[in-house]
Symmetry: C2
Subunit: 480 residues, 2 copies
């Protein structure tokens, strides 16, 4: 395909994309396929000779679309939102064309520098303490990671490295393996599964801190565990706090937890993957109070800030902590400006070496929405969640299972877990709306997350009518 | 921005992209900016109110383009190629619009299933042993990782987990920490820096195996190190072979190394990040002989197979090895079809949780180029490298520093490292072509990699004229 054909096909694709998103509501939100459905629909080998573009696009409708879960349908209420906006998609087209791999400053200076400034812009929107920003006298700075999982892992690895160096220096007789076996990390019992996984990868113990009745970690609970572990000869070195847990959007009390971590010389990482976007609104910003005690902080603009996946924003208070942990420097990646002190080589900040020009998406979205537009998006989705909450509360057969603070409503039918499992099964099978469950204090709970950018009040009302209709049918069945 | 405006702006962006790529030769390949250049060109904060699209696009030329290293310029000969093609860009637009996050089968079945089949297609193109393919009776399968660094890390972590379990079971009294401290991994002294980094992350020792005069690892060298380490009480558990090293595109002798790894119960991972694409050509396939001994294999279609970044293809012989290493299973990610045995949940195969629908890019590229088109691309670039090699060989002032097997030519001026450093400095400053150096046996060497899809013979000839012109100037300077 040459540039001339790309101009034609590109226009067609733009229209296909716009058509898809404009008519997405007409598609069942969840696909009706069985595992293995796709293999039989296409050849077993790649073609020897080129095929035409028309043939490929015909197969998009025939092969791909039947197996798509439509995350941007206003009838999608599962997991958490995956951000999507037209400005971000346009920026991604540009990113693909530039196709620069930004592992070092020299590999494409604009790619590195726009990222640093965009993370400063975003940090200011969140009112992060100055020390986290790059364009200040502090020692911090921001980076775009692919996912929150990678941010958590990077923070844990940096903390591990820092702890190892510290304890090796004060106790030179101890082997690294011995210290490693004594290190212990902590996180909420409601933390995302990727936190536990980071500890597995890092080869360190991780303990789950129990939560209060709001599913949040309080200072005293962490303090008690730390005391006990120190007495047993362990070395507490890391705590990952969650602001907005995946199960119920609970908020650990970082203003209580931070001083404990600082006193105990433990790294505090804050994972606000979903909820972080809301902190650009003054009314939600107090939930971030205590950030000043943190060593690193992360949230996903690709969840709730209209920047298409992948774009996970991470800040560290001391860039040397994260850079120093794995600096490996071969000649083919050296460049002239490296030693100037002004230069950021982001490959030292992340697991992969290569990286796309993802800050373009942020730049386009921040400018074309403006801070007010982004705030409006958050507020609208919170209001829709509150609307859904009121509908649930007005129906005595149901109960709300966790305080509704942002765009997530945890609810269930009063009654057994089995009953709620049956309701969810019916919902999934109907393909009219899509939800996933969670577990809260041993109870099977339904999560209703306001996801798509285009979700409106009518979709909330429709979803609730559908849920109550299936509930009515369920309760008619023999045995209920 | 609504769908109607996106239709208009999308068309404009398609034209901008086509214009950019059609006229890329007219831009200096390497930017003329100093570190920190960008910050002063844009505001210090995000705007409060939305700005217009025109304003943003105006700034792309004013702010971004001056700081771009143009990886797709036919005058770019640095690092290794970053793949780019129009079909891949079209597929990426579709991927952005679908915006599904494919962490599990249920999160979008098409996303998972197309990936599995595409990795089978690709595996067949490479004539991988059947056991690596998913659609067979074997236990293997493929996955798209973001980068080769992540593939290496995943393989090392899987090997670590396997070794720990094995040695804990045969020696229950030994602690995990003790075993971990005895584990030792190996790789070539010319392996990519990300291999060393994987060991740092995994918390295991890694030793560099010396290479022969072709910069390749031979069986006897590994065997000798393994023997010595076993005598010292260490546990060899992992070897990462390289096919096509970054420095000089050398090929470790996997047919010798594989049997040693198998006999010693060591995991053999093969990193063929750049060279792997060439194995679709029968004349290069013999370099992959010995793959049957490997536990995992990886290469980057996003380097040399016209699939835009990121797309790193990885296969494992036993899927349970990699999945079992970090399986963490919360309720909100469970789904009905999980236990059927037919389903792949790719989140267990990788570091991040979320993932884009990257197999669409492969599907579009494989079909629109056909196997023959992809082979032609590889062959053309190898021929261009050979053309450059002949030019160098015909000039007695220069020497070739490593056998030219694929699209990379390592060369230097006969004389001191300092002389060659000066030549590279002149080349970089001229911004006419872009190269990076490497180190071979203590010598400073220039790497000339054929990169852009649009590189033709005239660009090779031009590059060589430019190099000899600057060489002439350099040798005129006092002191030479």
């Amino acid at each position: 395909m040459d540039a001339a054909e790309f101009r034609r096909r590109g226009r067609e694709m733009v229209d296909y994309v716009a058509d898809y998103l404009e008519s997405i509501e007409q598609r069942p939100v969840y696909p009706d396929v069985e595992p293995g459905y796709l293999r039989s629909l296409i050849p077993t080998e790649a073609p020897l000779e080129p095929e035409s573009y028309e043939e490929v696009m015909k197969d998009v409708e025939r092969v791909i679309m039947p197996g798509i879960t439509h995350w941007h349908s206003p009838r999608f209420f599962a997991y958490f939102p995956a951000a999507s906006s037209y400005p971000a998609m346009l920026a991604d087209m540009l990113c693909g064309a530039l196709g620069c791999i930004g592992f070092s400053w020299a590999a494409s200076p604009a790619c590195t520098e726009l990222e640093t400034v965009m993370l400063d812009w975003l940090g200011k929107m969140l009112q992060l303490p100055e020390g986290f920003l790059a364009g200040t006298d502090g020692h911090g700075g921001g980076v775009i990671q692919g996912t929150a999982s990678e941010a958590t892992l990077m923070s844990l690895l940096a903390a591990r490295c820092k702890a190892l160096r510290h304890f090796e220096s004060i106790n030179p007789k101890k082997s690294e393996a011995e210290i490693l076996s004594q290190l212990v990390a902590y996180t909420s019992e409601h933390a995302h599964c990727s936190v536990e996984r980071a500890a597995l990868i890092g080869g360190v113990k991780m303990k789950k801190v129990p939560t209060d009745q709001t599913f949040a970690v309080r200072g005293e609970m962490l303090q008690a565990m730390v005391e006990k572990d120190k007495e047993a000869g362990l070395i507490p070195f890391y705590f990952c706090a969650t602001l907005g847990t995946t199960s119920s959007c609970a908020f650990d009390h970082i203003a209580e937890l931070g001083p404990i971590c600082n006193k105990e010389n433990m790294w505090m990482h804050i994972d606000a993957a979903y909820a972080g976007s809301a902190f650009i609104c003054p009314e939600f910003r107090p939930l971030l109070n205590g950030i000043e005690f943190a060593d690193s902080f992360n949230f996903n603009p690709h969840k709730w800030m209209l920047v298409n996946f992948d774009c996970s924003a991470m800040w560290v208070k001391k860039r040397t902590d994260i850079i120093g942990a794995f600096k490996v420097e071969p000649l083919y990646l050296k460049h002239e400006n490296q030693e100037s002190g002004l230069v950021t080589d982001y490959r030292h900040w992340q697991i992969p070496l290569g990286r796309r020009f993802r800050s373009l998406k942020m730049w386009f979205v921040f400018r074309m929405y403006g801070l007010k537009g982004l705030q409006a998006h958050v507020r609208k989705q919170v209001a829709l969640a509150k609307e859904f909450e009121s509908l649930v509360r007005a129906d005595k057969r149901f109960e709300i299972c966790a305080e509704v603070i942002m765009g997530l409503v945890c609810f269930r039918l009063k009654g057994s877990n089995e009953l709620n499992q049956k309701l969810l099964k019916k919902l999934t099978k109907s393909r009219e709306i899509h939800l996933v469950p969670c577990q809260l204090s041993g109870r099977f709970v339904l999560r209703f997350a306001v996801c798509a950018r285009t979700t409106e009040s009518r979709h909330i009302q429709h979803a609730w009518r559908h849920i109550t209709q299936l509930t009515f049918e369920l309760l008619q069945e023999p045995g209920h």
